[in-house]
Amino acid sequence: MIEITLAAATLLFFAGLALILLRRSLIVWLLGAELLFNAALVVALAGAARWHSPSGQVLALFLMALSGAALAPSLALLLRVKRELGTLEVDGLRLLREREAQDG
């Protein structure tokens, strides 16, 4: 059972990474980040089941809270990005690069 859990965690991890690396939309990017958080959560739970310790579940709970806490400002920033930059693509976040001088 626990192996299955770990396999599920791996699937979630790769799905999240794929969303981050391969998709163009920023919202989907954030979704990928959520999936990554979930992967960590699942591993924590696997640990809790393995060692019969509530500490793992506490960790999982905190991870949930943390992912929510990370998401809220990210979405708020996303709205700002839409307003200021006019685009919702990952590649749109290139202002820093544009301002860099041509270095050799």
């Binding site: 990952v90 590649d91 976040l93």
Partner: protein, 620 residues
Amino acid sequence: MAEWLFSVPGFPLLGALLNALFGEQLGPRWCGRLAATMPLFSSLLVLAFWFRGTQPAIVEHLWTWMAVGDLHIDISLRLDDVSLVMVSIASFVGFLIHLFSQEYLRGDYGERRYYFYLNLFVAGMLVLVLANNLLLLYLGWETVGLCSYALISHWYREPGNAWAGRKAFVVTRIGDTALLLGIFLLFARYHTLSIPQLLPLLQASPAPILLPAASLLLLIGAYAKSAQFPFHVWLPDSMAGPSTVSALIHAATMVTAGVYLCIRLQGLFAAVPGMLELIALFGAWTAFYAASCALAQVDVKRVLAYSTISQLGYMFLAVGIGAPSLGLFHLLVHGCFKALLFLGSGSILLIYADDHDIRHMGGLKSRQPFLRWTFLAGIFCLAAVPLVSAAFYSKDAIIDASFLVAGGGLPYALALAGALLTAAYAFRLYFMIFEGKPVELERPYQMGWGMKLPLAILAAASIGIGWLQFPPGWPGPHLWVPWLAPELGLPPRPSGLEGLLLTLAGASVTFLGIGIGYWAAKRERAGRGFSRWRFLDTGWGIDAAFLRLFPAPFYALGKFLRRGVEEVGIHGLAQGGLRDVLALSANGLARGENGLVSRYALGMVLGLFLLLLLIWTWPA
């Protein structure tokens, strides 16, 4: 009582700190007053220690500085007879000079900076002489070197002054490096740097090659600091600083640090065969050499500078012949009269509106009687006029003692010749400044009591301090030598007929010198004086030789490094090549993707992959 020992260097250090923090609010005048009270407090404390006596020696352990394996260095101060003499000089003469500076530097630029460095200097010197281990001594040594540089370059707006400060610093740095190397060698062999522990150790088991090497290095350090031949080249140029600085640093304190080191570590030098004879010979030679140069100088302060070099030579001579207590005696006497002469020269410079040339001076005795008599007291002492000057009892004792020591023939001859020249240049200086036709002065200058008091005190000391130790067989106090005998042993002293003849020889040399000085002053005024002897005027050409010998290869090496190594090697090959390689790969990568955030993310994942690969393939 012992727990207050740290305040002796602590007061001037506190003064420097307060100056640094609150000097802006205090203003230069109050900075000066604050700075002057600090060595006064130290002097009062030292006075208390005199009453308490130094048997047994006071040791105050403050805290542990470093403790690593074998190396155990404490901040630990030790007050014994020798250090008591040194701290007395440093604090009391230091106080007098601070007092003199109040009037002397009033209204000048950089007052606050001056007092900061002056206080810090006194603190450093006190740490140096109170230090119980060689590393703490080195700390004080470096501090006084730094402050000396800062104070010589005090009037930094003249580039020549800054150059002089740099020259002093660089030359003493050579000595400091040698000193440090010597300390390293000693520690490597004997595993302790605490002076009371080190000396018995190395006397019990002297290392055959290492100990002479270490003692030679330490001697070089002492020579550079005390401006002995051939490291003396910085002292005449350091006269670019204010005269009060010269009085403190180049008369009473910093240059005596080398002598102090030799007295302290006398056991070390005694354990090396031939070392003491070397020190004696070099000391006598330096005394003679510098006196010959002083005879040709026309800058009032340069005469005094060469004079300092010469007198320090006598102190080293004393150490070399096994009479360190006489050397310490002369150190004390010299501190008084040389400081007096430098302070006096400061007044003279104020009077003559900063013209240093003695050929433009004359006849000051009628305008400035107070200055004349105090200066004359100093000159008497410099020339070691019999009976009424302190140096007669100290310097002549050294010269007489050198006659008695085996192999002392050459040092005796050099020292005696040096004494002749000393009396000559001393009185040449006096006659040119104070006698003769008065020179017209635009602005008459009168000293205030703040300047007169130190001069008076130092003049009294220059005359009277010698009465602490009359030659053996003479009626009068014999305090000094017996008091120091437990620490420094008994010096060889002539007695009976031999003593009388030697004393007569010394006295006649002095009087002969006075005559020569008078004659030399007359010739100088007529334009045919010793100053025309280029050889003497430039210090036998040593300084010029050094300037040609040492900087040129150094600059050549620098040039080679700049062109050859840095431009071609580093910029061209390494940086350029690396830059091109990076650019190639960066362009290659950039074709794959060109979004900023995703590049980072991909980089992270790539890194993760490589990391896992590493873990997978790591040999277990």
